[in-house]
Amino acid sequence: MIEIKQLEKAFGDHQVLKGIDLNIEKSKVMVIIGPSGSGKTTLLRCMNLLEMPTKGALRVGDFQMTFGEGNVPKQKDILSLRRKSGMVFQSYNLFPHKTVLQNIMEGPVIVQRKKQEEAEARALQLLDKVGLKEKAQAYPEQLSGGQQQRVGIARAMAVNPEVLLFDEPTSALDPELVGEVLGVMKELALEGMTMVVVTHEMKFASEVADQIVLLDQGKILEQGSPDDIFNHPKEERTKSFLSRLIDPI
């Protein structure tokens, strides 16, 4: 579904991603973990070109792009690639001037030119799925963080993406609200949605992920099944990263 080859990203002189190769298969869940500053969010944002990679190649669905010197990406290509995916943000980023329903319908109506009624029916269906049908007419500010993030998921789903990208979707939430968001994500995973998730929720990772990637200093340190990573880590640094998570002090 997503194929990443020798992907590099630099901000000025600062090399954040140093040659990443990854394959994400259809209907699988990949969880990216790693210490802060390891480049995991940058990697995720490269997948829908919110960050433009400096080098390498990226394929999402059937759309391929290569990056490098003298290769200025065309707007048209950026849009084509971006429209294959949906994204859920750490800080939700709902549109505050639109109702919940309007937030979800915005992509289908404005970008995909769907009919109003059709988009509304689909939006209500998605809201039902995330358990917020009764909030259709509310404004984002009237919702709790967990509710806002569930709307964020519905909005990302509404454009029928081939893959959903999650950027630390529960990091801004109060602990008691994390569960409702992870619950929705788990359900999506069970339905066969292809997902790439950057998170610190190790329990979620171990239960839902098909593949875990540990990023460190802009490189893939280790990848494998949850069992490989959590129970039989090969690298010393993986062990020390995991032990810090379990016993932070």
């Binding site: 980023n93 992509g107 404004y139 984002p140 990302a156 509404a158 454009v159």
Partner: protein, 230 residues
């Protein structure tokens, strides 16, 4: 009532309607026309300044630099008294409208530009993530939020403009202040007449600024962010 008071009272009443008439005929139309075109210009200039097209950006910056950096009355004099010498003669009202529009445009563009910049980056990213183009993001997501932010400062410009139109007196527009000067010349009661015209300006700006409250409430109804809470 002694003679003096009676005379003042008489002049006050006598001049009220002519002053009001000058206000309704010139001050208010001049304000509304200039604000309308000024806002259009402000919008255009703000968008150009935020666009990636360098030559246009330079022109926009140059325009803002000139019109913010020179006195309004000098601009009016150039347009009305200066342009005829290069063959462009404008009516006083038209010259004043053009001058005020250009001034509102220059100041307003900075307000709108700041409002657009103040919308969090995450809003752009969310718009892009659902596949929007830059124009769609601007039109659907960024500008509606920026407009709301810019209502209070733009209202300030509007109220300033009502009062600034008195400068049109200096290029022979018979707006309200010009009228007050004429009546003063006849009766020689400057204290009375200038206070009287001040009162009428106050009434105008009070009425017109109630539009601001309406507008703010309008925007509040269309967004979750209900203002006025501390």
């Amino acid at each position: 009532m002694d003679d003096r008071s009676a005379r003042l009272y008489h002049i006050f009443v006598e001049s009220f309607l002519p002053l009001l008439k000058a206000g309704v005929e010139f001050t208010i139309p001049l304000t509304l026309v200039s604000f309308f075109f000024g806002l259009l210009l402000a919008f255009l200039t703000a968008l150009v300044r935020l666009s990636p097209v360098t030559p246009l950006k330079l022109i926009a910056r140059f325009y803002v630099w000139i019109f913010r950096g020179t006195p309004l009355i000098v601009q009016l004099f150039i347009i009305f008294f200066g342009l005829p010498s290069i063959g462009l003669t404008l009516s006083p009202f038209l010259a004043a409208s053009i001058g005020f529009s250009l001034s509102v445009g220059a100041y307003g563009s900075e307000i709108i530009r700041a409002a657009i910049i103040s919308i969090p980056q995450g809003q752009w990213e969310a718009a892009y993530s659902i596949g929007m183009t830059k124009n769609q993001a601007l039109r659907r997501i960024i500008i509606p939020q920026a407009l709301k932010v810019s209502v209070p400062p733009l209202s300030n410009s509007f109220i300033s403009l009502i009062k600034d139109t008195s400068l049109a007196a200096s290029i022979t527009v018979t707006e309200m202040f010009q009228k007050a000067q004429q009546i003063t010349a006849r009766y020689y009661e400057p204290m009375l007449l200038y206070c009287e015209v001040a009162v009428i300006y106050l009434i105008f700006s009070t009425v017109l600024s109630s539009l601001q409250n309406r507008l703010e409430r309008h925007f509040d109804l269309h967004s979750s962010n209900k203002g006025s809470r501390l």
